[in-house]
Amino acid sequence: MDQSRPAPAPGPHRLALEGIVKRFAGAVLANDHIDLALRPGEIHALLGENGAGKSTLVKIIYGVLHADEGRVLWEGQPVTISSPARARALGIGMVFQHFSLFESLTVTENVQLALDGRQGENLAQAIDEVAGRYGLALDPKQRICDLSVGERQRVEIVRCLLQNPRLLIMDEPTSVLTPSEVESLFVTLRRLAGEGVSILYISHKLDEIRALCHRATILRAGRVVGACDPATTSTRDLARLMIGEDPGALERRDPPVWPHAAGDEAPRLELERLSMDAESPFAPPLTDVSLKVRSGEIVGIAGVAGNGQGTLLAALSGEHRAPRPEAVRVDGVAVGHLGPAARRDLGLAVVPEERLGRGAVPELSLAENALLSSYRSGALVRRGLIDRTRAHGLARTIIERFGVRAGGSRAAAGSLSGGNLQKFIIGRELLQKPRLLIASQPTWGVDAGAAAAIHRALLELRNQGGALLIISQDLDELFAIADRIAVLCAGRLSATRPVHEVSLEQVGLMMGGLFDDVPTPAPEARS
């Protein structure tokens, strides 16, 4: 692996940060005296958990945010990066985590917007040329909304490359890619580095960083806590630096609890050739999705974002009705035509991907947010009137039972940290004693401690005989907690496989849509 990583050229640093400080309202130090230096041709990892301050730092480098203190040196000269335009003029390009693309505009128009005044037909030619040189196939005339996530990232990269950057910032570029797309991205990045471009690579995926980067700077809680050569540092040491403690492995699970070993009991959840249009014009429709989830097991659905996960969740929760009632069954009852409230009455609970604005209303108190999905149970609402005492009581119970750090039941949901709000939402759903829980990205953007607590709670529900369906883009998460796994790609769902019978590579192939190339495992063995 080391052969593919030629040492960066010696000489002055391309970019050096000295003592960068950024404060946000409420006196939180997002960046606390950060130093960082990159040489030409160096691929430099910026490693840290969500909330460690990585995104704030790169936004400062790219001129989107402005530092409160500190110095920025570019090619040895102190500079003021007042705006992204200034950053680009210096030779800094950035590929954003959440792409900054314009859905209704064409590839060419999107590229044109990032360039200063370059016009005309030559642009389409220039796009073709750059795309060809780095293996980034694109049709300049297509509109962004018709592109896959991987193609969108190519547009972002091509857009940066056309400005001949000397520093390329990549913010979590692989979180939305399939393993094979990741490989081809790395080929492109190595070629760029070989040409002398410095790359600042932001990630929290340790294996990727070890495979790709020359140096790594590790951030925790806004500070630099270490720097190392990732190739010679073990994954475990990197993780310890990043998290600050030994990341004790999730305790080994008990084998699946299948009380219905005879197999005659109806599955808790059954999807039967479910096909439906997406709620947004920019997502693929679901096609012939079939699936069974039994009590006492966790079924994981893997897949790259934008492959129909949102539609699937809405179809399961009842926010989006299925065309045929029989396409969705809960405990044998056809529910495809029922709304969320009626499905809740059958013992279904749902944790949506978006915490703010869907799973919870940020402006409302925790008591009101407890009411949001629990209003059908516990006599919280009687004769059309809300029992406020009970609602506050429920919120306090959730806070205590699930270790939510919050300023009481009156605190606004928006004032909680991501992890604590997620614990609150999952706690709220679990307290309804669901027979079937469906959760999307249950630990997305959540700190390690909260993620472990959430995983424990989910496993506990499973061990008590609950049926769980977890939709996640985090393969590590699914391999850690799921009993069976399936992959969603372009609105189609693969067959489910027991987790211990598939490898990461096989799941990766399926995420690329190659369902049939993966050898069929031995018939489901239940010992």
């Binding site: 402005h66 920025v72 929760s317 409230a341 799973g359 949001l372 209003y375 009137l385 809300i386 606004a412």
Partner: protein, 361 residues
């Protein structure tokens, strides 16, 4: 562009400014109003006195304030329910007109029928008329996704033309010297005056009761909670299983019904018949009242009193100082602007000057 004004988000909404912002808006309006009066060559203090103090310095004036505030508060409370849920009914003036037409029509049809049921019947007809008119935008939004702002407003013009046709044509009082107005309602269909020598009528305490009921509904009722969720985060409402269409219908019917009640109360209270110009724009002013009152019933009552004062003040300064009546409209617009601007202080601190220079200590 370097920003001259720099907004800095507060972590939490400021409790102080939630209440101070409306007061500051009133103060700023008075300041600009004084400047306006001075520009017109009038002594600002005298004019402000004429505008805000003189009208309510007599018992009659004070009761007139209530007469004007009651329909404003009644309509605004209904509108506020919808505004909380993102349902923008701005056609209350039309629903008010329809309420007057249906209530007035029934009153005219019943003629001299003498029964204690006449008054409740005509009031109910007024409510139903307003509801029916608001049902059109509700249907068009829920069935065809047509924007209710535009449809409810277009229907206001239609309602006013309809009233115009009725009082010029089929419903014109044959003994009315060809004036475009209907015959006076019979005494049984009139809201009785409560205080001799004033126009304080039964419609005012009635409005108070209705406003209290809506308050209870908003504060304790589950439907109020659903509407609030729908307004703040529609996707959370859908996730919870609240039926958006039902909430749209509910808010439009409620606000339409209250506007209809206010409309017929105007016709059956201070006026006593149908005329082409029933309301001095109560349906539009109520939009300002709803915002000024922070979409909260208590605030709305206070805001309605203040706005009613601008109507009386406009009449007073016209009478005594020869100032144009249109001053009222200017004041009403100004106060809403200032309120919207002052509300920024609830969520943000305003810093004047350039942003801190980036990247350099």
């Amino acid at each position: 562009m370097k920003m001259f004004l720099h907004l800095e988000a507060r972590g939490e909404p400021s409790r102080l400014w939630i209440w101070a912002a409306p007061l500051m808006a009133v103060f700023l309006t008075l300041a600009v109003g004084s400047a306006l009066f001075a520009a017109l060559g009038k002594d600002p203090l005298q004019a402000l006195n004429g505008f805000f103090i003189m009208p309510v310095s007599t018992l009659y004036g004070a009761t007139e304030l209530l007469v004007k505030a009651a329909p404003l508060a009644l309509i605004a409370v209904g509108l506020a329910v919808g505004f909380r849920g993102g349902v923008w009914n701005i056609g209350a003036e039309g629903q008010l007109t329809l309420g007057a037409i249906t209530g007035g029509g029934l009153a005219l049809a019943l003629g001299a029928v003498d029964s204690p049921l006449v008054l409740p019947a005509v009031l109910l007809a007024g409510v139903l008329g307003g509801m029916a008119w608001a049902a059109i935008p509700a249907l068009l939004r829920t069935r065809f996704h047509a924007n209710e702002i535009l449809t409810s407003l277009m229907l206001t013009y239609v309602a006013q033309l309809l009233l115009g046709w009725l009082v010029h044509g089929p419903w014109r009082d044959p003994h009315g010297f060809n004036f475009p107005e209907t015959a006076p309602f019979s005494p049984h269909a009139i809201l009785p005056v409560l205080l001799e020598g004033t126009r304080l009528h039964l419609g005012i305490p009635l409005a108070g009761v209705v406003i209290l009921a809506v308050w209870a509904l908003l504060a304790r009722g589950f439907i109020g909670f659903q509407i609030k969720v729908m307004g703040l985060a529609p996707r959370a409402g859908a996730y919870a299983g609240f039926r958006q269409n039902r909430l749209v219908w509910f808010s439009l019917l409620l606000s339409g019904g209250l506007a209809g009640l206010a409309g017929f109360s105007e016709a059956a209270g201070p006026i006593g018949q149908l005329q082409p110009a029933l309301s001095p724009g109560y349906g539009f002013t109520a939009i300002i009242v709803a915002f000024l009152g922070r979409l909260h019933p208590v605030g709305i009552v206070l805001a309605a009193l203040f706005m009613a004062l601008t109507y009386l003040g406009g009449e007073t300064v016209q009478l005594f100082m020869g100032l144009p009546l249109a001053v009222t409209g200017v004041f009403q617009g100004l106060i809403l602007f200032f309120l919207l601007a002052c509300d920024v202080l609830i969520l943000y601190r305003v810093r004047v000057g350039r942003r801190p220079a980036p990247g350099v200590s």
